[in-house]
Each structure stands twice: as structure tokens, then as C-alpha cells.
């Protein structure tokens, strides 16, 4: 069909074709976010009357920060997500270190036990966990949002996979120099494993930030409630509320999107390790 064209002409044509193919898909994937953005800046008197806004009105954003508890929810989510991220980095590093550098009785059995946790969907244990933390009087606290997530099999696998690539001689040499295991982990393994730790961190922070089911069950007040619960409590009663709700969604998405934009590579690496669980 294009036999008469030169190679360069054909390549140029292909590029145009690819652009034409991609533009509609890109628009469709972006559409929900673009629509949310548009609704959030639409003046409230145009919400029910016009599809496209005539001017940009940022009042909804001011209301998000002055009239709602969203700032508090953002702070709560930051505290919880940072604590979970840091905690998982520590617990998973330690466990992965034991599984990749140390010899001990029951190593394979314990590794299997951790492998087995991937078979249990979190939703299947959520009722029992809810009853447990309720009986301890843990409801509506920060630690109830943090402690159950302080370790993950995915994190252990991701780091172990990484640690196994380090030479065993490194460990032997450090031992000969009188470096104990704790110092070896902290001063040699952790700095070497920074990319893997970054991947784990980006993935865990994002997942915790995006959590919904568990915080929904165990929080009752704005004091500890997290962002995803917060925005789902804004409702679309009237035109002013609609703008507010959409602005709230945009504000809460910004941190997620920033992690995606600035840590895309780490996030994707973490995701690929985490997808084994799904």
C-alpha cells in the first residue's frame, strides 16, 4: 500500500498514525481527573447550568482548607503513612537480612510461614482484626491504623531478593573485622539496598495513603480519620457542596500523583514485587 514511499516517509507516516491512535486513549484515561478538576474550579452558580465554566473560581479550594476537616485528615494520613513506611522498612529489612545472610534452624519453615500470608486476603481477616482491636480499646487511635501494617510479606520478599545479590564474602569479611550483624545491616546492607528500600517506601506510602476499608472500620472521629474517609464524607447536596467535594478530591490526589510523578520508577518496581499478592 505504501510501497511508493521512501523509508523515511513511511516512518513519518507511522508516527502520525501512532499519535492519532494514542490521543483518544490518553484523553479517555485522563477524563475522570480532568472532569473532577473542571468541576472543582467551576463557579457555584454555573454548576447546574453550564457544562464548561466561563471563569475559574478557586473558592472551593479555600473552603476545603477553611470549612472542612480535610487539613487535619491530610496531617493524619501523613503521620500514619510515614509511620507505616518507616516501620515496614525496618521490620522487612531485619527479616530479609535473617533470611538472606543468617543460618538457623527452621529457616525454611519460617520462610514458608511468611509465604503463606500472601494466600490470605486482608478482607478475609478484617472482621476478626476489628473485633480484636475493639476489645483492646484501640479504636479511634493512630496506632490502630499503624501497627497492623508494620510488616508485609511483599516487603520481605522485595528486600530479600535484593540482599541475595550481595556477595556473601561481604558478610564474612565484616565478621572477621569484628562487625556484628546489627551494625553490618545498618552500615553496609541498608546503604547498598537504597534503591530497593526506595521502591518499598514509595509503594507502601502510596498504599497507606490510599487505604479505605480499615480506617473506615476503626476510626470514629476527625481526630485520627484519614484522607480517603474524609473526602468520602463530603457529599453532593447542593452546588456549593459539589465544588467543595471535587476540590477535596483534587487536594487528596495531589500527594498520590506527586509520588507517582517523582518516584515513578521506584513505585513501579515496588508494584511489580507487590503484585504477586495482588
Amino acid at each position: 500500500m505504501f510501497q511508493s514511499l521512501t523509508r523515511r516517509q513511511r516512518e513519518a507516516l507511522l508516527r502520525v498514525g501512532r499519535v492519532c491512535l494514542n490521543v483518544p486513549f490518553v484523553v479517555i484515561i485522563m477524563l475522570p481527573l480532568l472532569y473532577t478538576l473542571m468541576m472543582s474550579v467551576k463557579p457555584s452558580n454555573e454548576i447546574f447550568t453550564r457544562f464548561f465554566p466561563t471563569t475559574i473560581d478557586l473558592i472551593s479550594y479555600r473552603h476545603v482548607f477553611t470549612k472542612t476537616a480535610i487539613p487535619r485528615f491530610i496531617l493524619n494520613s501523613f503521620i500514619v503513612a510515614s509511620a507505616v513506611t518507616l516501620g515496614q522498612m525496618i521490620t522487612c529489612s531485619m527479616a530479609a537480612f535473617a533470611f538472606s545472610f543468617l543460618e538457623f534452624r527452621g529457616r525454611n519453615f519460617l520462610f514458608l510461614c511468611i509465604l503463606a500470608t500472601m494466600m490470605v486476603p486482608w478482607e478475609a481477616t478484617i472482621i476478626a482484626n476489628y473485633l480484636t482491636v475493639s476489645s483492646w480499646g484501640w479504636r479511634d487511635t493512630y496506632h490502630v491504623l499503624i501497627i497492623p501494617y508494620l510488616c508485609s510479606a511483599m516487603g520481605i520478599f522485595l528486600l530479600r531478593q535484593n540482599y541475595l545479590t550481595f556477595a556473601k564474602e561481604l558478610h564474612e569479611a565484616a565478621k572477621l573485622d569484628g562487625c556484628n550483624n546489627w551494625r553490618f545491616l545498618l552500615t553496609i546492607v541498608v546503604p547498598l539496598a537504597r534503591p530497593a528500600l526506595g521502591a518499598l517506601g514509595a509503594y507502601v506510602f502510596l498504599n497507606t495513603w490510599n487505604q479505605y476499608f480499615w480506617p473506615l472500620l476503626v476510626t470514629d472521629s476527625n481526630r485520627v480519620r484519614t484522607v480517603q474517609i474524609g473526602i468520602s464524607q463530603l457529599y453532593d447536596a447542593d452546588s456549593e457542596q459539589i465544588g467543595l467535594m471535587m476540590a477535596g478530591v483534587v487536594v487528596v490526589i495531589i500527594p498520590s500523583l506527586s509520588i507517582f510523578v517523582f518516584m515513578q520508577k521506584q513505585l513501579i518496581n515496588g508494584l511489580m514485587a507487590g503484585a504477586v499478592k495482588g
Binding site: 508516527r15 494514542n22 478482607e123 473485633l131 501497627i147 490510599n210 479505605y212 507517582f260 515513578q264
Partner: protein
């Protein structure tokens, strides 16, 4: 500097220095935090869920009356079976739509970004982007898109439909939202699978004069089949666990048309306070996911894909 005087170098073979007590327990100390978290929040609640599923409970979830397998009987064949079996059917329909829809979008977007074109970096970023978006945030956004009077969907179709409360459309619409949510991970995995196909296969096919579609059906698809299989399993497991979007948009309605299994567990436990029956539902969910995972293991072991 090499220290030849060191004892452990001089002594060869298995006769090594005896380990101290601390050295024996040290590895377990490294594992302790992980095992504590898993023990308290995974193993214990799992056993407790099995236990609860054999009891009738009070409003606070205390096991009150031993009920044997009656909870399972009630939801599978007895008084709650109509609702539970409906949940299963709804979930399977939902899972099929999400798994295939997600896979097709992922395949299309990753194929479209293979060659060079202006805006390629931007396009790939956008296709991957849904991985970062919370299901709650996306659900709030879709609530607006589905709004009966001012929603984007009605505006672009020229209709006045209340999509979320339409008995026919509610479930496909929820599947559509979920496909949007999983499209990013499908794009990333299928894209990675595509890049792993050896370039030489395409080159030799070109020499034989094969066109795009011939190459697609004889090279791309067969080489990609393990990735696609893995991805479809991931989609199935993800879709089985959907909850947020159902709770925020349809609340399982209209008339239980979108009452997927996780949402039915939530209703049973936290609206009707039937923790025993909800635990039995959870165990059934666990068994379903277990079977799917085992199928995946089995198929992967066979590893004959073409």
C-alpha cells in the same frame, strides 16, 4: 590487610568455634518484629475467623452459641442463601468484566506505545497513572461523572439516566470504574512482557515478509501468553477484593445488583451484626482466592505456553 593469625581461618572444615547462646537466638531476634505483626494480625485473626464461623455471636462479636457448620449451611443452602448466591453471581460477573476489560486496555495501550512518536513519554505516564489513584478518590470522581442531571456521562450521551441506581447498568458501570483503576497495572505488566520478547523474532519474520497482524498473532500473542495469564489472575484477585467503589457509589444496590462478596461481608458484620455468618463468608472468599492462586502456581509450573 589479611589477618592470617585469625582462628577461624586456620581451623578448616566443620570444626568451627562453638556458637554462643546469643548467636543461636540472634536470627530469631531479627525475625521477631515481622513474626509478631503476622502472628497478631494475620495468623491469629485467621484462626479466629474460622472459629467465629462456627458460632452465633452477640452484637459485639462474642461467640455465644456453637453452631457447627450451620452458618455455612445458612448462606449456601439455607435462609441467607438467596442473598449470598446472588453475591457470588454478581461477583463472578463483575470479575469477568474487570479481568477481561483491564487486560484488553492494558494490551491495547502497551501495543500502542511500542514505536517512537512525539508525546510517547507523556502517554506512557498517563497510561500508568491510575496505579497511583485511590479507589475512594476515583469513586468520588465517578459519582460526579454518573450524576443524573449534571454528570459527564449523561451530558456526553444526551441521556438522563441515573446510572448508579439502574438495575441493568449499575454493575457494568462499577466494572468500568474498576477497569479504569486496574488499567495502569495492566499497562505496566503487559508493557514489560512486550519488551521481553526477543527482537530477532520480529526481524526474521519481517524478512519472511510477515505483516503487522501476522506478527501479532504468531509472535506477540504466543510470547506474551504467560504475562497475560499472570495478569488475568492478578485482575481476578483484585476484582474479588473490590469494596470501596461499591460502598461509595451503589451501596450494593439497586436491589443487591452490585452486592459483591466483600461488600456482603461488610453488611453482614457491620450492619446486621451477624459476625459468625460474616466470618463464614470470609472463609469462603479465602477458599476462592486460594483456589485461584493454586491454579496460577500449577499453570506457572507447567510453563509451556505456546
Amino acid at each position: 590487610m589479611v589477618r592470617f593469625s585469625h582462628k577461624s581461618l586456620l581451623r578448616s572444615g566443620p570444626r568451627r568455634r562453638k556458637k554462643t547462646l546469643y548467636e543461636h537466638i540472634e536470627p530469631y531476634l531479627f525475625l521477631l518484629p515481622a513474626l509478631l505483626v503476622f502472628g497478631i494480625f494475620l495468623y491469629y485473626p485467621f484462626v479466629k475467623t474460622v472459629y467465629l464461623s462456627l458460632f452465633l455471636t452477640d452484637k459485639f462479636g462474642q461467640a455465644k452459641l456453637f453452631y457447627g457448620l450451620q452458618n455455612y449451611y445458612d448462606i449456601l443452602f439455607g435462609k441467607y442463601s438467596a442473598s449470598f448466591l446472588n453475591s457470588l453471581v454478581v461477583t463472578v460477573k463483575f470479575v469477568v468484566m474487570v479481568a477481561t476489560g483491564g487486560l484488553l486496555i492494558g494490551l491495547a495501550t502497551s501495543l500502542m506505545t511500542v514505536g517512537k512518536f512525539p508525546g510517547r513519554t507523556f502517554s506512557t505516564a498517563i497510561y500508568a497513572m491510575p496505579i497511583a489513584i485511590a479507589s475512594a478518590a476515583a469513586a468520588m470522581s465517578f459519582r460526579m461523572i454518573l450524576h443524573p442531571s449534571i454528570g459527564l456521562l449523561n451530558a456526553s450521551l444526551g441521556t438522563q439516566r441515573a446510572w448508579a441506581s439502574d438495575p441493568v447498568w449499575a454493575l457494568p458501570i462499577m466494572a468500568l470504574l474498576t477497569i479504569w483503576l486496574v488499567s495502569g497495572i495492566n499497562f505496566i505488566f503487559i508493557g514489560a512482557g512486550l519488551r521481553n520478547i526477543p527482537e530477532e523474532l520480529y526481524e526474521s519474520a519481517s524478512i519472511d515478509g510477515a505483516g503487522y497482524w501476522r506478527k501479532f498473532f504468531h509472535i506477540t500473542l504466543p510470547c506474551l501468553s504467560p504475562t497475560l495469564f499472570f495478569q488475568i489472575i492478578i485482575n481476578i484477585i483484585n476484582a474479588f477484593q473490590s469494596f470501596t467503589q461499591i460502598r461509595l457509589i451503589t451501596q450494593g444496590g439497586p436491589n443487591e445488583a452490585t452486592n459483591v462478596i466483600v461488600y456482603s461481608i461488610y453488611l453482614d458484620a457491620f450492619r446486621n451484626f451477624r459476625f459468625g455468618s460474616a466470618a463464614a463468608r470470609s472463609i469462603i472468599l479465602f477458599l476462592i482466592i486460594l483456589v485461584i492462586t493454586l491454579i496460577q502456581f500449577k499453570m506457572e509450573k507447567r510453563s509451556v505456553h505456546y
